[in-house]
């Protein structure tokens, strides 16, 4: 059973974030094989997915909802540039509001309610005590710009891509929990430009093929993929802007604290065609799990060891693991003993 979000945990300072047994069980473990490399790992996000899984609904709302929405508020207060929407993306933002509100109200009727009377909409978010009436499509009837308004009520980062010339452009987004990239820096860039720093994948043709596929995504046919990295402490906001707050934590890993400090960070990325604007919505829903909790599942623990042991050097470097990678492999080896 899905747990109603009631707790408020922190993703900074005292890091009180924890996963319930239910959250551990449904964690989207991203490794289908013992070795990992980049591929065009995109598949249809067919709905509804398996009951209680992170794939059940278009957008997964879980026990960390209140905590993540509070954290988003903190980040936006420190740096409003984490939310950007170029003027030509206004309609795309409203498409996103329609898609998010409509699906959330249907998928979680106890938490969200939506009534539409023509373009007069009434939205209730019972978890955050929000009760608003507005005119669909008219940004002046919302208490804040549409991207920020919706972004503050949906778990996970969101980007809206404008599609033109057979390419995608990062022209709007709300990004408060990135895995070391900056919305302000990438804003306006094309698909291959913002993927510039990624090693190996360009040469492998991964991005060319992925882009072609993405441009052909149809309405009501969302797709998804998983991406992963490692994060020290349960820190959501690992952005270049705040690097001084978290970069040094990589040196704090010791053989004794690996289990509690090192977290597997998995992004469930979902792409969905926006009907009125032809934009693509890209939702990046981040899940964090400590190695301690991860290794309660012996299959995951064994595979994690094998993946880490064979991870290509350029990926170790790109994902920022160099510092503690050998130590981690050693720590994991106890879960992978030949019998």
């Amino acid at each position: 059973m899905r747990i109603a979000p009631t707790k408020i945990e922190t993703f900074r300072d005292d890091f009180t974030y924890t996963n319930s047994p239910f959250a551990i069980e449904r964690f989207p473990f991203p490794f289908p094989e013992d070795d990992y490399s980049y591929s065009v790992n995109i598949e249809p996000h067919t709905l509804p997915g398996k009951a209680d899984s992170v794939y059940e609904h278009l957008l997964d709302i879980d026990e960390h909802y209140l905590s993540e929405m509070r954290e988003r508020g903190l980040v936006l207060k420190e740096n409003p540039k984490r939310c950007i929407a170029m003027p030509h993306m206004d309609l795309a933002c409203w498409d996103m509001i329609d898609r998010c509100m409509t699906s959330m109200a249907v998928d979680y009727p106890d938490w969200f309610k939506l009534e539409k009377d023509g373009d007069q909409w009434h939205w209730q978010n019972l978890l955050l005590n929000i009760d608003d009436r507005f005119t669909f499509g008219d940004s002046s009837t919302l208490p804040m710009p549409p991207m920020e308004y919706m972004g503050r009520q949906v778990q996970g980062d969101i980007a809206l891509l404008d599609q033109r010339e057979g390419d995608l452009f990062l022209d709007a987004g709300i990004v408060t929990c990135p895995a070391d990239w900056s919305l302000a820096f990438d804003a306006g860039m094309s698909f291959s430009e913002w993927h510039g720093p990624v090693p190996m994948a360009h040469e492998m043709g991964v991005f060319d093929r992925a882009l072609k596929y993405l441009c052909a995504i149809q309405v009501d046919r969302p797709v998804r993929r998983l991406n992963w990295t490692l994060t020290i402490n349960a820190r959501m906001d690992t952005s270049p802007e705040t690097y001084p707050n978290w970069g040094h934590e990589r040196t704090s890993v010791t053989p004794e604290n690996v289990g509690e400090k090192v977290h597997l960070r998995v992004e469930l990325q979902m792409l969905d065609r926006m009907p009125r604007s032809n934009a693509l919505m890209f939702s990046i829903r981040t899940y964090l799990i400590s190695f301690e909790d991860l290794c309660t599942n012996p299959d995951w623990a064994r595979r994690m060891h094998r993946v880490m042991k064979t991870l290509p050097e350029p990926l170790i470097e790109y994902k920022g693991l160099s510092r503690y990678h050998p130590l981690l492999v050693e720590w994991l080896s106890k879960y992978d003993v030949p019998n």
Partner: protein
């Protein structure tokens, strides 16, 4: 591929001597909102000249406002050299009939970051622009239109366009000897203008050549070149994967022949532009008619787009 949508024909209307308009409503449930320039593919189940059962699938632009998800409107020109689809729509389809369509997709969307939009339509090429206009108006985007037609055949929606003062439209009736001076139109626009062309190939080429002469960047010129699949010589196909042998007749596309034989090939545009249907050729020489593959890919002859392309040799062997 998306699930097909069943629609009922709610109204049929003649909008020019050779163009008929069909209003479609969902048989059950809701239609999707759509973006300007979107099209749907209509499946038509009829009989060909010899009385044999035949399925046509043609792409038609939506001419209604994308905000209105209660109905879709399409306009169909009776093609002189029709493969049957447009004849079927004109002679067989009546109010109350049921048709099957795909959800809308878009291969001709406006570039929203443009400073100004110039729409150049020829004949039934007016159709994709009909869904541009309501959104241009909502955004207050600077837009102008140049519309060439032949008064004795096409020229649909002229009254609607005339009353719209935000979008100035200039009309050119070819039947009365009027012509659009492309050089004057393209040459007088502010920097950052994007041009959209939909119409016969001669119009598209005319705009491209004029743009080149004037030194306009080709990235600012957009065209809807829906090559509806053209008829051609019949040919035979061997499928290596499934072991099937299929005969492609002169009035069907290779993709249609494959589908008729129960072979599913991913597809979207059915007009040689989206790249979805790319299929590997093992033997035989394809006749490439698409605008997706590069010239070198075409010269290699090891793949083709079955939605429009055919065979130069009497048979083809495909890997599927």
């Amino acid at each position: 591929m998306s699930d097909p949508i069943q629609v009922r024909v709610a109204a049929v209307r003649t909008v020019s001597p050779k163009i008929r308009e069909f209003t479609l409503e969902a048989v059950s449930g809701q239609l999707f909102s759509f973006s300007p320039g979107s099209h749907v593919v209509v499946t038509m189940k009829g009989t060909n000249a010899e009385g044999k059962a035949k399925v046509w699938k043609n792409a038609y632009s939506l001419v209604s406002d994308g905000f209105d998800a209660s109905r879709y409107v399409i306009a169909v020109r009776l093609q002189d050299e029709s493969r049957g689809g447009s004849v079927f729509m004109h002679t067989q389809v009546k109010e109350g009939d049921t048709l099957e369509i795909t959800p809308p997709s878009n291969l001709f969307a406006p570039v929203w970051s443009a400073k100004k939009h110039v729409l150049i339509a020829g004949g039934v090429g007016i159709t994709p622009f009909m869904s541009y206009l309501p959104e241009m108006k909502r955004r207050g985007a600077a837009t102008e239109m140049h519309y060439s037609y032949r008064g004795d055949a096409t020229g649909a929606y002229r009254e609607e366009l005339q009353v719209d003062e935000q979008t100035p439209v200039t009309f050119y009736d070819g039947a009365a000897g009027e012509r659009c001076d492309l050089k004057a139109v393209l040459g007088s626009q502010p920097l950052g203008t994007h041009f959209y062309v939909c119409g016969p190939e001669s119009l598209i080429e005319g705009v491209q050549e004029t743009a080149m002469e004037l030194g306009l960047p080709s990235s600012n010129i957009h065209f809807e070149a829906f090559a509806a699949p053209q008829p051609g010589q019949p040919f035979a196909v061997q499928l290596e994967g499934s072991g099937l042998n299929i005969q492609v007749s002169e009035d069907e596309s290779l993709l249609e022949a494959l589908e008729r034989s129960g072979v599913e090939v991913p597809n979207l545009c059915r007009g040689g532009v989206c790249g979805q249907c790319r299929t590997q050729v093992v033997d035989g020489e394809p006749e490439h008619r698409d605008s997706f593959l590069s010239d070198t890919e075409k010269a290699d002859n090891d793949c083709l787009m079955p939605c429009v392309s055919r065979a130069r040799s009497s048979s083809l062997t495909l890997s599927i």
